[in-house]
Amino acid sequence: MSLTKKDIDLIRSLLEDSQFDRLNLEIEGMKLELERSGAARSRPATGSARVDASRNANPAPAEPIAARARTSTEAGLVEVKSPLLGVFYRAPKPGEPAYVEVGSRVEADSIIGIIEVMKLMNSARAGVAGEVVEILAVNGEMVEHGEVLMLVRPL
């Protein structure tokens, strides 16, 4: 069994409505950790090995832009984070193929998407060589500075 995005949203809203700061859930080898940002611990830096599928839950009573919880449970994946706040686009132009798909091979300097800040386009790069395992950022939606865009299995 695996958790869907909807399941995670539901679990997250349970935490948000509760008086607790942290929730650890283990189901059949899958581990989910949610935390309010006020209770956040220091997180491992990009590039360090991760052994769980944790993600800090954002306490966001004002409609969150999109709930993006990572689902890959694999160890050793590298988080590719947004270098700045802006609107994330997966392709150079609407209708054109995306820069990368799940399964794409990327180099450290490969462009993986575009971040638009007030009509200025900035390219986001992988920063690591490997294979794209999961894409978390939603095309056309805003991402924050430091938000995880995708997960890469380093090679």
Partner: protein, 450 residues
């Protein structure tokens, strides 16, 4: 248009201050945070937070495009810029105007009108508001002629400077030409603007400013004055209202002049007109207008009972002024001390770090505006002010007594602060008498180190 969600584009105590008023008004807040401020008190209090960039302010709190994008992305009706950072950036206000987001502050044109010192001075002259004798100079011959008119001592000031930066004292007019050349070269390097102007040097001056609210249609009211003469290197440390021992006729003409200046600009929002009060001549001169909420606004709130942030929001919503001048009543006196994370025993060096424990004072007439709680981090990237301790009383003596008591009951562990230094200021007999000039603090420090 009712504002339902505000992007708070600032940090520290003013972010907390804005969020508290929004909470009371039922307005949602989206707080911009840099990486360094993710765990701040403001981040915990805001309806939600958005990380806008790394710790360096140039890439986060000063990034106009990022702040505008965050406001649009989170569907905020308005941006509150606080003070500092983007609060007096005309391009921020203009981008808001273009994107249909309400900028809680004056128009871009008004920010430009008061942001350029020479233009602001010309506006003051046009509004029949007295200015310090002086003016812009180009050629050395022009400068000599004007300098002889003004008389020595005089100041050479950079048009692009401010807060004490970019000015030089000329005590002997023979040094004028050399000093001007140096000032101009320095101004060009520091501010990218080589223009300088000359000004009479007031030997004994007090810094007195007037709090204003304008509706943007020519109606302006004042909420009294503040005396901010206790300064260290042009940084205010203690502010109070009313200005002690100021002749009442001078006070009345000063308040009128400030209102006249802002009304002529059809000023919108909260703003402050700063004057230099020449003690020896009992005259005042226009210095500049600050087109934003000020750090020291709480003393005005204490004596008037008016929430200035709420009025900023009401004006931004188009409600205009909710008070007439006659509605503004002044009750007692209020004094504020700025608590900074700095080490007075080590040349006031900034003292960032983690506040391991803190106890803020409370009690009748005592107010603390701060974002510091036990465990809070004071990052090295930003201004060192960590709190404002404010006391209000039926008269100045009582306000001062309460403020002394409040500071005695304040404890901040883990970082150096100027708390003890502030206590010495409040204990000084000259300060207790009231009406000290801007040279007071330097003299006090000199006495202490002698």
């Amino acid at each position: 248009m009712a504002i339902k969600r505000i992007l708070v584009a600032n940090r520290g105590e003013i972010a907390v201050r804005v969020i508290r008023t929004c909470e009371r008004l039922g307005i949602e807040t989206v707080l911009c945070v840099s990486e360094a401020d993710r765990g701040s008190l403001g981040a915990q209090l805001a309806t939600r937070t958005v990380c806008i960039g790394p710790s360096q302010p140039a890439k986060s709190y000063l990034s106009i495009e990022t702040v505008a994008q965050a406001a649009l992305g989170y569907e905020c009706d308005a941006i509150h810029p606080g003070y500092g950072f983007l609060s007096e950036r005309a391009d921020m206000a203009r981008m808001c105007e273009d994107e249909g987001v309400t900028f809680i502050g004056p128009t871009a044109a008004q920010i430009e009108a008061v942001g350029d010192k020479l233009r602001a001075r010309a506006e003051a002259v046009a509004a029949n508001v007295p200015v310090v004798p002086g003016g812009p100079v180009g050629s050395p011959a022009e400068a000599r002629a004007l300098a002889e008119q003004i008389g020595a001592p005089l100041l050479v000031k950079a048009v692009g400077g401010g807060g004490g930066r970019g000015m030089k004292l000329v005590e002997d007019l023979a040094e004028l030409e050399a000093t001007m050349a140096m000032a101009s070269a320095e101004a060009s390097a520091a501010f990218g603007d080589a223009r300088v102007y000359l000004e009479r040097y007031v030997a004994q001056g007090r810094h007195i400013e007037v709090q204003l609210l304008g509706d943007g249609a020519g109606n302006v009211i004042h909420l009294g004055e503040r005396d901010c003469s206790v300064q260290r290197r042009y940084q205010k440390l203690v502010e109070e209202t009313p200005a002690p021992n100021l002749p009442s006729t001078t006070r009345a003409t000063l308040l009128d002049a400030a209102v006249r200046f802002a009304a002529r600009l059809n000023y919108r929002g909260a703003g402050t007109v700063e004057f230099l009060y020449d003690v020896a001549h009992d005259e005042f001169y226009f210095l500049e207008m600050n087109a934003r909420i000020q750090v020291e606004h709480p003393v005005t709130e204490e004596v008037t009972g008016i929430d200035l942030v709420a009025e900023q929001i009401a004006i931004a919503e188009g409600q205009g002024l909710r008070f007439e001048q006659a509605d503004i009543a002044f009750s007692g006196a209020s004094i504020e001390c700025r608590i900074n994370a700095e080490d007075p025993d080590n040349r006031f060096m900034p003292s960032p770090g983690t506040v391991t424990d803190v106890a803020w004072p409370s009690g009748e007439g005592v107010r603390v505006d701060s974002h510091i709680v036990a465990g809070a981090k004071v990052p090295p990237f930003y201004d060192s002010m960590i709190a404002k301790v404010i006391a209000h009383g039926p008269d100045r003596a009582m306000a001062l007594q309460r403020l002394r008591g409040a500071l005695a009951n304040t404890r901040i562990e883990g970082i150096h602060t100027n708390l003890a230094f502030q206590q010495r200021i409040l204990a000084d007999p000259d300060f207790a008498r009231g009406g000290v000039d801007t040279g007071f603090l330097a003299r006090m420090v000199e006495r202490e180190t002698a």
